[in-house]
Symmetry: C2
C-alpha cells in the first residue's frame, strides 16, 4: 500500500452508559467512520487517503472526533453530513474546514 | 490538551483465530501499546507525545504495526523491547529508527 497523502483517524471509542466522559460511539463515531469509508470507496480515493478507526483521541466532549494527519487538525462534533466537506475542502484541496475545528483550548 | 509534537498510533486490531490476514493483537499489539503508555507516563511526556490505539493500519503481516505522525513513518514487527528506541531516537530526537521501518513496498 502506498503511503497516503492524508490519513484520517476517526474515534469510535465505546464506553459504558453513564461514564462521565461519554464517548464518540455515543456521538455517532461509527456512522462518521462509515461515511468516510463509503465516500473513499465510491470516489476511488484509496491510493491517496487512508481512514483508520481509533480509541480515544482526547476531546471526548467534542465527539465525534476526527483527526487528520500530517497536518494534525482535530475536528469535533463531526456528523456523517460533514464528511463530504472534509474530503472536498481539506483532503483533496488542502483547505481545512474552519467551522469544524475544535477550539484551540482543546487542541492547539 | 496541547497538540502533540509526535502522535504514535499503535494497531491493536483483533481478528478471530485462523483469519488469513492475522492481526496485530496476535503479534503483541497490546503489549506494545502498554509499553508506550508506561514509558510516556514514567517519563512525563504527556504534553508532547500522544499515543492512540487503532484498528487495522494495513501491513498486517508486519505486525505489530506502529505509525508515527506528522512524519508518517510506519514501523513493523515492533515489540515492547523496541519502544525505548522509538521514543529516544525518533520521538525525542527526530531520528527515525531505520531497522524498524517496514519495507518501502509495504508503505512508501
Amino acid at each position: 500500500m502506498p503511503k497516503p497523502s492524508k490519513h484520517v483517524f476517526v474515534c469510535v471509542q465505546r464506553r459504558q452508559e453513564g461514564h462521565p466522559r461519554g464517548c464518540c460511539a455515543q456521538q455517532g463515531g461509527d456512522a462518521v467512520m462509515n461515511a468516510f469509508l463509503t465516500q473513499i470507496q465510491q470516489r476511488n480515493l484509496f491510493n491517496t487517503i487512508s481512514v483508520t478507526n481509533t480509541g480515544c483521541l482526547g476531546p471526548c466532549s467534542f465527539g465525534a472526533s476526527v483527526l487528520v494527519y500530517p497536518e494534525g487538525i482535530m475536528y469535533g462534533k463531526v456528523t456523517p453530513e460533514d464528511v463530504p466537506a472534509i474530503i472536498d475542502e481539506h483532503l483533496l484541496n488542502d483547505v481545512p474546514v474552519e467551522r469544524l475545528k475544535v477550539p484551540e483550548f482543546v487542541w492547539g
